[in-house]
């Protein structure tokens, strides 16, 4: 069984009298440690899928099960706790706290868990070194470039070692050089800590970093294939096996 199971997921938005189908019927299984890219153009429903998987939004039908917990059935309070323990986030617009330093931003998820300041700051410093920001520990977000801010964001997502990291267009605001840098760091860390990374993007080039590419068109999975072209050396065999097992294709 996969770490993430998406079963018959459907999401319909109601705008005035009009119904907009964002997701029609999605079935998807992601294995633990897999780097999975959800690829689609804007309006394809890829972000909606990510939001529902992360428990930020409720589906109209179907369910999401992560690590045997039915996320779609949790209350808001339990969802917060669930995210605290199991999920990390990387946002397109970084979403760092403007008043806090890099260390404090990275340590934030640990603070929510009630970890002491000493310990969480130690972890945060470790993470900031890992994203090559050892010389920017006390800088505030406004004192850093976009790429640096996103690296702080990545450190924040990984610091608590959650089971899953969700990244929604993580390089959407970055230039191509910085994009490469940020993607390599993020994918590298996911592999190092053997964490599951769900990457949502519209960019074919970014999709190349993933083990598996799920293409969504108009709320349906159009293609789901193992990515053999990029980083074959790093790719885990397990991921390839699972691709064939996962029956989540919507033909």
């Amino acid at each position: 069984m996969g770490l993430i199971r998406v079963e018959d997921l459907r999401k319909v938005y109601r705008v005035d009298q009009e119904k907009i189908v964002a997701l029609s019927r999605i079935n998807l299984t992601v294995a633990s440690g897999e780097i999975c890219c959800i690829l689609g153009t804007s309006g394809s429903g890829k972000s909606t899928l990510l939001n529902i998987m992360a428990g930020l939004e409720k589906p109209s039908k179907g369910r999401v099960v992560i690590d045997d917990v039915e996320v779609t059935a949790l209350s808001e309070k339990d969802l917060a706790l669930f995210r605290q323990k199991n999920i990390g986030f990387v946002f397109q617009s970084y979403n760092l706290m403007p008043t806090l330093s890099a260390i404090e931003n990275v340590a934030m998820p640990l603070m929510f868990r009630g970890i002491s300041k000493d310990q969480r700051n130690r972890e945060a410093v470790k993470m900031l070194h890992a994203v090559r920001l050892g010389n920017r520990l006390l800088h505030r977000p406004t004192q850093m470039s976009g790429g640096q801010q996103q690296r702080v964001g990545i450190a924040r997502a990984f610091v608590a070692h959650p089971k899953i990291i969700f990244a929604d267009e993580p390089t959407g605001n970055l230039d191509s050089k910085t994009t490469k840098e940020v993607m390599e760091i993020m994918v590298g860390m996911a592999r190092e800590y053997q964490e599951t990374l769900i990457l949502v993007t519209h960019d074919q080039d970014i999709a190349r970093y993933a083990d598996r590419i799920v293409t969504i068109v108009d709320g349906n999975i159009q293609a789901d294939h193992t990515n053999e072209s990029a980083f074959p050396a790093q790719r885990q065999e397990k991921a390839q096996e699972l691709t064939t097992v996962s029956g989540g294709k919507a033909e």
């Binding site: 930020l56 999920i87 603070m111 929510f112 868990r113």
Partner: protein
């Protein structure tokens, strides 16, 4: 999330918006200051009037005045005094029998006492709390001729052999020393002489020996003030008056019953004063006590306090609206941050707590600063009042603004509560923000 982390987060967001925090806190400062200073006035005024009345008279003493008794009223005589003594709440009493000073004279050698003599129940004096400078207050029955002098009454002795004014006064003379009176009743011989109204009266008058029991200290809170009084047993005083009448062939109208000029009643405690006073009034006498004044003054003080407190409450209410407004603004500005925190796994309770702490902190800081200002204002007012010599006729030299510990503590608790209550609805608003909408917001 730990409490200290939540407090730290709240504080950091407060300090981030310094000017706005300062302005909001200022609202609370003014409100707290207004309430505390206003209430401190009330407390100060109450204390000053209490002190004033305490110095004006014993609060448990009721005076009965009988200057112009109505003809059909019961006379204020021994029988009536026994009736009053039997009232519940009465500790003791004494009549006040003023002896006409023209009836007899007290002499000590060449010195003559020219003042008033009052007949009282000598054994009741100790219960009224009279203090002695020399000698002892009598207990139980007293011998005939026993007499008590007030400290200052002794200065009413003068040398009858000299014609010019030779009175001395209890005031420092040129050398700075207060002169002793001519007579010391504890040592010198005292005698009483009945006077004749007619120089042709051939009856011989034998002087009566008196015995000085002691000298009473002055006490302005008593009426009559003991320093200026000369007391003797009321029965003995009456017998002397009878003798005087006989000597001078004065006929007493038998149809008119004997009356004392007045009486003084001491109640067991302040609580019983009112009921005793009412009962005495029911007998048909005019009474007078500090308690009756006190009530009207207290009523007045309460009214002042309520008006002042109300003004303070209004200012604090305005401050509360300020806090709510600031918190709502803060939440609008931080919608995105709140959303991110929620996405990153901050539980709802923590978010609510952080905003409540923030609002409570505004209240608390405002309360502390308000208290400091209040103490300063209070000090200033008291200093001004002391120098100005009792502004508005209040507390000359005394404190007209008093901030007791309970008021200070209460103000802190109250201002913090105002902050918390004002922050309650904004905090709930923050909790309801959808994480998704918040992070989408650009």
């Amino acid at each position: 999330m730990k409490w200290n982390d939540m407090v730290a987060m709240s504080l950091s967001s407060l300090f981030k918006r310094k000017v706005r925090t300062l302005l909001t806190v200022a609202g609370v400062v003014i409100g707290t200051c207004a309430i505390v200073v206003m209430l401190s006035f009330g407390i100060g005024i109450k204390k000053t009037t209490d002190d004033m009345m305490q110095s004006m008279g014993d609060l448990t003493v009721i005076q009965i005045e009988n200057y112009s008794p109505s003809p059909d009223a019961e006379p204020l005589d021994d029988a009536m005094l026994e009736k009053i003594r039997a009232l519940p709440g009465v500790q003791t009493l004494t009549p006040m029998f003023d002896v006409d000073s023209s009836a007899f004279q007290i002499r000590s050698g060449k010195y003559v006492y020219g003042g008033q003599i009052t007949g009282v129940y000598m054994d009741a004096l100790s219960e009224f709390g009279y203090e002695m400078e020399a000698g002892k207050l009598p207990e139980g029955t007293v011998e005939e001729g026993a007499i008590l002098f007030g400290k200052d009454a002794l200065y009413n002795f003068y040398n009858s052999k000299k014609n010019n004014n030779n009175m001395i006064y209890p005031e420092p003379d040129a050398t700075g020393k207060v002169p002793d009176p001519y007579v010391n009743p504890m040592e010198d011989k005292l005698e009483l002489v009945l006077r004749k109204t007619d120089d042709n009266n051939k009856k011989t008058v034998k002087p009566i020996k008196l015995k000085g029991l002691g000298i009473m200290a002055q006490d302005w809170s008593k009426n009559p003030s003991p320093g200026y009084s000369v007391f003797m047993d009321v029965k003995y005083a009456r017998s002397l008056v009878d003798q005087y009448n006989k000597l001078n062939n004065i006929k007493v109208d038998k149809s008119k019953k004997f009356q004392y000029n007045g009486a003084v009643v001491k109640a067991l405690d302040i609580k019983s004063v009112e009921s005793v006073q009412d009962s005495i009034k029911a007998f048909g006498f005019q009474t007078y006590s500090m308690d009756s004044i006190r009530e009207s003054v207290e009523q007045q003080t309460r009214t002042i306090q309520m008006i002042l407190g109300g003004l303070g409450a209004i200012s604090l209410l305005v401050a509360a609206l300020g806090i709510t407004n600031t918190m709502i603004m803060s939440i609008y500005e931080r919608t995105r941050e709140i959303g991110v925190m929620k996405v990153l796994g901050c539980v709802i309770g923590n978010i609510r707590a952080m905003f409540l702490i923030e609002a409570g902190m505004i209240g608390f800081i405002g309360g502390v600063a308000g208290l400091i200002f209040s103490y300063m204002l209070s000090f200033l007012i008291n200093t001004l009042a002391a120098n100005g010599g009792g502004v508005m006729g209040l507390g000359a030299g005394g404190q007209i603004s008093i901030i007791p510990a309970w008021l200070a503590l209460g103000a802190l608790v109250f201002s913090t509560m105002v902050g918390l209550v004002s922050g309650f609805s904004p905090a709930n608003r923050a909790v309801k923000i959808s994480a998704l909408t918040a992070i989408r917001q650009e």
